[in-house]
């Protein structure tokens, strides 16, 4: 694992530099005409497709697009790590795919950016555990969070008993808020046991939400708006709730206080509820953050939609579009906090329901 990680880092750097060189060379050659058929396809002005642009931005990718379009695009190529039964673990830079124009070691990118066999007839399952845009963005956010939190712990140890300073003034109220108004309010006296988990979940979502709102590297990735990420978060909550559920929790599900003939209806509903609660957690976060990204990108797209009708119209629309985007950006800042809070609060409530002691 460590070796792969080191290799991956190396490949990020090398891929970027080699690609940057490529791009530079390309711009020099471009005006002189004489391209291959593939290049010609890109040379003619493409019709602007906002749907495709938006999906490209909110979906995961094997390279981190920075700026430019088509062949002038500058992006960070990320390491591809693939496991297949026949070939074992394969590791190379995503630059090898040349944005889906080339195959490498029998693999290629399809039009959705997913790695498939070059040989379409091959049906062997590909386990793609590449360091994708979302993985890298998530790791950067997590590292940032760790540096801040551990730095804070060290500072607190050094300045024991003194008031917090600087950024800690911003974080401590959040910690206290989660501790007092979320954990203690929902779980009660057992809150301390679950507090580290709730804090980690809250800050993970919050930091990733905020990073997602930064339009350039290392932000802009739609991490918390990715169903895989929210699924794992929901899974963690699901496991915490059900592994810590006491007898009252299970009794409430399988022996509820209702007439026995109603068990036929109640028990399936309760069992469904056990799964449904984390499932809704997963969907809510995913949908809210993705929707926010889509709306912001949508407002920006207006410029180019009108611009493709007439250039003047595009310029005319742009101030309005920017104003709306700024407004949405501010709203998304609120949503970034709100969704992190809602996820944490509901998690705390579910845990609270599972560990609550009943005194009948």
């Amino acid at each position: 694992m460590v070796a792969t990680a080191i290799l991956s880092t190396f490949s990020i750097v090398s891929a970027f530099s080699s690609h940057a060189n490529d791009a530079g060379a390309e711009t020099h050659v471009n005006p002189e005409a004489g391209h291959s058929a593939v290049h010609d396809e890109h040379a003619k002005p493409e019709k602007y497709d906002p749907g495709k642009m938006i999906i490209d931005h909110i979906a995961d990718a094997h390279d981190w697009h920075l700026w430019g379009e088509g062949h002038d695009a500058v992006s960070i190529s990320l390491p591809v790590i693939i496991y297949t039964k026949s070939q074992g673990l394969v590791n190379f830079s995503s630059a090898r795919f040349e944005h889906g124009h080339a195959a490498y070691e029998g693999f290629e990118l399809n039009e959705k950016g997913v790695i498939v066999w070059e040989d379409k007839a091959n049906t062997e399952v590909i386990y793609d555990i590449s360091i994708t845009k979302n993985v890298l963005a998530m790791m950067l956010a997590v590292i940032t969070l760790m540096l801040i939190a551990i730095g804070m712990a060290n500072t607190y140890a050094k300045r024991a008993g003194k008031a917090p300073k600087g950024i800690h003034n911003l974080i401590e109220p959040l910690i206290l808020f989660i501790r007092d108004d979320v954990a203690k309010a929902s779980i009660g006296h057992k809150a301390d046991k679950y507090l580290p988990l709730l804090l980690s979940v809250f800050f993970f979502i919050f930091v990733n939400n905020i990073f997602g709102l930064i339009p350039i590297f290392p932000g802009g990735a739609n991490v918390t708006g990715n169903i895989a990420v929210t699924m794992v978060l929901a899974l963690v909550i699901f496991l915490t709730v059900n592994l810590n559920g006491n007898k009252y929790y299970w009794k409430h599900i399988f022996l509820p206080d209702v007439p026995v003939w109603m068990y036929v209806i109640i028990i399936p509903i309760e069992v469904l509820g056990v799964v449904l609660k984390p499932f809704v957690l997963m969907l809510r976060l995913f949908a809210n953050i993705t929707a926010g990204h889509i709306i912001i990108l949508g407002f920006f797209s207006l410029i180019f939609i009108f611009g493709s009708m007439s250039q003047g119209l595009g310029y005319a629309v742009s101030p309005l579009s920017v104003a709306f985007t700024v407004f949405m950006g501010l709203l998304e800042l609120l949503v970034a906090f709100l969704q992190a809070f809602v996820f944490t609060l509901l998690s705390a409530i579910y845990i609270g329901m599972a560990v609550e002691e009943h005194h009948h």
Binding site: M138, A160, L176
Partner: protein
């Protein structure tokens, strides 16, 4: 559809990253931070209750001081009163003694005067009787014929002297 299909790679990395995050933050961040926050809160609470206690102590001490002061004032007043009484008494006593002494002196003086007076009177009586005898002698010498009449006159004169 691509959006709502969780990618296996991201699930894998998310699991790894989040587990690490949970472990590291729990151990190196949340526990020490929460601990220091709790300690700080405890310190603040202790300080506040200490301040409250000190304040009530101060108030108590102040009350005590005041009562002490009042007591001292009362004591002083009492002492002053006593002193005044004592002075009045001494002065009164002295006056009474002096009066008595004066009266005694006066009485003695009066007695002496009385005694002197009676002695003087006796003296005078004696003188007078001597003088009277002498006068009588002279009268007898001069007017022996009118003895009886003369005797009556002398006796009348003498009784007038008493």
């Amino acid at each position: 559809m691509q959006l709502v299909t969780p990618a296996i790679g991201l699930v894998f990395w998310m699991l790894v990253t989040f587990s690490l995050l949970l472990f590291i933050l729990k151990k190196f961040a949340w526990k020490p931070i929460l601990e220091s926050i709790r300690n700080r809160e405890q310190t603040i609470e202790d300080s506040l209750s200490l301040a409250e206690k000190t304040k009530s102590e101060m108030i108590r001490l102040q009350g005590e001081n005041e009562s002490l002061l009042a007591e001292a004032r009362k004591e002083r007043d009492l002492l002053l009163k006593e002193a005044r009484e004592m002075r009045d008494k001494i002065v009164g006593d002295a006056k009474a003694t002096a009066d008595e002494e004066a009266k005694k002196l006066m009485n003695r003086a009066q007695d002496e005067i009385e005694k002197q007076k009676s002695a003087a009177i006796a003296e005078i009586k004696r003188e007078v009787s001597v003088l009277s005898v002498q006068i009588a002698e002279k009268l007898m010498h001069q007017q022996l014929e009118n003895n009886a009449a003369q005797q009556t006159i002398i006796e009348n004169q003498l009784s007038q002297l008493n």
